[in-house]
């Protein structure tokens, strides 16, 4: 049986794709990821009925809606959440950001932290645990943690705070014992004190009337969300965060995301633990 030859991706094509994808997303594929990248591109080529890389790349590059690029981003990324994910940013929060934010601050004003998207709560509870465990000044300040998501069902799960082993895999055992109680079926539930300390709210970042209520934050965690937005929505989200932060406040994005590619509103801060973005003073 003689079918069409299987399409292949040449080295030059891979380099061309890698440069473009990096420019659009900040995700850079090392040579070692070549098989993974080729496989997903070839899958998308098959699904879109295109038999040459050149034709597929031209569609990716010039499609005004950006739909195929978004589909490819989804295929190239893994969206999962668990406790203490990308914990170098939490370390940065307690070692660098909070000491700077509190250095000249009137003691009475609470520190406000916004976690968006909160998903099922792993991130905001991780922030709370990091503060309680690793920030020596935690008792000297009032701290408000607001956690938001667009999905009301996932917010209900977050408020309930029950997690399986996959979510808890990175959590040190002593912290699991301290902040969780076993509830059967290999699940653990966050203790009530901690559940009661996070305000969960439904927020659609595209809804300016709602997001305008979010003001006075000192730190925002918005990780691995903007990569799924189109260019204008990303830019509008950056405007929301700019409006929500106090001057001098910080925003933490996911490891492959860069605010510099989205907006010039923020300055880059390179701390020993992480690179974050700051609203100018």
């Amino acid at each position: 049986m003689h079918g069409q030859p299987e399409p292949v991706i040449t080295n030059e094509e891979f380099l061309k794709f890698r440069e473009y994808f990096y420019r659009k997303t900040g995700i850079y594929f090392e040579e070692s990821k070549r098989y993974f990248v080729d496989k997903r591109i070839l899958e998308r080529m098959a699904k879109t009925g295109v038999d040459s890389f050149h034709a597929y790349f031209m569609n990716l590059r010039f499609e005004a809606s950006g739909r195929e690029l978004q589909t490819l981003i989804n295929a190239m990324t893994v969206n999962e959440t668990y406790f203490f994910r990308e914990d170098y940013q939490f370390r940065c929060m307690v070692r660098s950001m909070l000491p700077e934010l509190t250095a000249y601050r009137a003691a009475k004003r609470p520190i406000k932290i916004w976690s968006i998207p909160s998903s099922s709560g792993e991130e905001p509870y991780s922030i709370a645990i990091w503060l309680l465990e690793y920030w020596p000044q935690v008792d000297e300040w009032d701290i408000e943690i607001v956690a938001s998501d667009i999905d009301t069902k996932i917010l209900d799960l977050a408020r309930e705070g029950r997690y399986g082993t996959r979510s808890l895999q990175n959590l040190p055992p002593n912290l699991l014992r301290k902040y969780f109680k076993p509830v059967g079926n290999q699940e653990h539930q966050i203790i009530e004190d901690l559940r009661g300390s996070v305000e969960f709210t439904q927020v659609n970042l595209s809804d300016r009337a709602t997001t305008r209520q979010y003001r006075g934050f000192d730190i925002i965690f918005c990780r691995n969300l903007l990569i799924y937005f189109d260019d204008i929505s990303r830019r509008e989200a950056a405007e929301v965060f700019f409006g929500a932060l106090n001057p001098g406040g910080f925003i933490c994005l996911g490891h492959s995301e860069s605010m510099s590619r989205i907006s010039s509103l923020f300055t880059v801060r390179k701390f020993p633990e992480a690179i974050v973005y700051q609203k100018p003073l």
Binding site: K16, F53, F62, Q213, S264
Partner: protein, 209 residues
């Protein structure tokens, strides 16, 4: 515990006296308070008829956050008036403003397309270079054709060099002859030869047949 929980609610300053309709927002765009101008600029994204005024404000606005909001709304409005108002700002002496315009135009491919030929034939070679910069990230299927036109016709070496660089990414095999001929139009300038060779190699590598 030091963690406290408060309900998120509208801050007191949110209880505004001025209207959020078109005329109210345009009035706030003239406020001496940058924060008020910024919120007005963002809310004007819902009023496409404000595009021309938003462009005019860009010329005057010195506050970077307000300027950013003006650009954001113009990109969201994304109409003929927005493009028409932005293009002349490519001639501005203010580099940050020009960069903002380039970034904004890149995100408005359909509205921009009818103006592309005029921009690529602007008498000012800097404007032509900025236009090629716009093409760098413009999601429009005519982009390779427009770039080909530049390397075949433009008389300024820097405009052509910028364009041939981009063709390395988006060019196709039938463009190779024009790319190869480009250095000859500029006394075989060694940099253009180098850039053309890279583009040709990229295109050939991408299309071995």
């Amino acid at each position: 515990m030091a963690l406290i929980k408060k309900t998120v609610s509208a801050p007191p300053e949110e209880h505004r006296h001025s209207a959020r309709d078109l005329s109210g927002l345009l009035e706030q765009l003239r406020s001496d308070k940058p924060d008020i101008r910024r919120w007005a600029a963002l809310d004007l994204s819902e009023h496409s008829e404000a595009a021309e005024i938003l462009c005019r404000c860009l010329e005057e606005e010195q506050n970077m956050a307000v300027r950013d909001a003006l650009f954001t709304s113009l990109i969201r409005i994304n109409n003929n008036a927005a493009v028409k108002g932005l293009i002349p700002l490519l001639k501005s002496e203010d580099a940050a403003l020009r960069n903002g315009v380039i970034e904004a135009l890149r995100q408005m491919p359909d509205a921009l397309a009818p103006y592309m030929q005029d921009m690529l034939h602007d008498p000012d070679s800097d404007v032509r270079i900025f236009t090629v910069n716009v093409l760098e990230s413009l999601c429009h299927p005519m982009t390779p054709e427009w770039l080909l036109g530049v390397i075949e016709e433009d008389t300024h070496i820097n405009v052509c060099a910028t364009a041939v660089d981009l063709l390395a990414e988006v060019g196709s095999p039938e463009m190779i002859a024009s790319i190869d001929a480009l250095p000859g139009r500029f006394a075989n300038d060694p940099f253009l030869r180098f850039a053309a060779d890279i583009a040709i190699r990229r295109i050939r590598g991408a299309n071995p047949n």
